[in-house]
Symmetry: C2
Subunit: 196 residues, 2 copies
DNA sequence: CACTCATTCGGACTAGAGTCCGGTTATGCC
DNA sequence: GGCATAACCGGACTCTAGTCCGAATGAGTG
């Protein structure tokens, strides 16, 4: 969506940069909520159609702005050192992921919220979400948990910007406390059922 | 928000009914997505201001339409027979709640989605959500689970209309299968951590 | 350099949610 | 029944996301 096509015209590339830079600056100055897309295109000096053709919609713009961080995180998961990367036990990897992801969302609450705000279910169909889910599902399955698919979705549902923002800003929990609590929960979700 | 004030003028009551009836009918006829609030006020024969003063916003209207079912469910939890109502073991009550709630959302996906669609975090601050959370938190705590508050939120985050709609319509899971899987997950969340 | 044409630009336009306020009407009190 | 007042009504208005299409421009080609 935000990715440039294989071959991109020079003006297109220039304008994409302008939009991203303008958005980044405005969001930083005034807070995301106070910035309209008209503000962004005005500051970028491009037309409205340009922004929408490039990024699809508001959420797409947020995704593009988060892209770099997100790729870095995905790379640490695929190729980095344990416990986040391959090599550690599934449960360890899962809790490491959860802690890292909580931090990522906490550091970018507004932007992530914007990237998750669109038509119902859109969040669940984005490429990056599929990645997180597949990762969690794989780890849960490896740990022998029942219903790994459903549990992966539930876990990630608890890690939306909406939920984390609420815990942090409305309930006053600290990122540290949250990371611990959610990591414990993930660990519990991963353990095999105790037959009785 | 949708509740009438202690004493309500006759015309106000009449218009509230008209709006609710018109909305219910139009939603049933065309599907919620295809109905605008202008359609509703036109069909109800009232002005736009009337709708918004009464219901606050789109989500408020949905809440008002769901009100009856929601109250009934809450009543079964507070005063009904076990395992949903008081009397059963906490874990049993929790899984019973989860199953019932999945069914409730599955039967009203669109409306519940509409009631949860508004400014970020709004869902978490509604009265009814507080009720569900408090109920889950209480049961989780009674069962001896760690972090009952956080786990209640995570569990409920997995039961949004967005998520359930995705499981049902995009992944093709059946309500029955879903209820089972989520109930198992809830049970696991409720059990005490296995020290190792 | 001239030409072609696919790609991109950008601003006017649409749609729908939510606000505002002058006019109207119900209700309680004499 | 007549009156004062608070509550309510409703439609014109605003604000913003998202669409559309004629004009402009970049990039190969001979």
């Amino acid at each position: 969506m935000g990715e440039p096509p294989a071959t991109e015209r020079a003006d297109a590339a220039r304008n994409r940069r302008r939009v991203l830079d303008a958005a980044k600056q405005l969001f930083g100055e005034r807070g995301i909520a106070a910035v309209t897309l008209d503000d962004v295109v005005a500051a970028a000096g491009v037309g409205k159609g340009t922004l929408f053709r490039r990024f699809g919609d508001k959420a797409g713009l947020a995704v593009a702005l988060l892209d770099e961080q997100e790729r870095a995180l995905q790379d640490r998961i695929l190729n980095g050192p344990p416990p986040l990367g391959p090599g550690a036990e599934p449960v360890e990897r899962l809790t490491a992921f959860v802690r890292t992801y909580v931090g990522y969302v906490a550091r970018n609450t507004e932007l992530v919220a914007m990237s998750q705000t669109s038509s119902p279910g859109a969040r669940l169909r984005t490429g990056s979400h599929q990645f997180w889910r597949q990762h969690c599902e794989f780890l849960l399955a490896s740990a022998g948990a029942a219903d790994p698919g459903v549990r992966a979705d539930i876990l990630l549902a608890g890690l939306t910007a909406e939920q984390i923002g609420y815990w942090l800003h409305d309930q006053g929990r600290t990122p540290r406390h949250l990371a611990n609590a959610v990591a414990r929960t993930a660990q519990q979700l991963a353990s095999s059922p105790t037959p009785r």
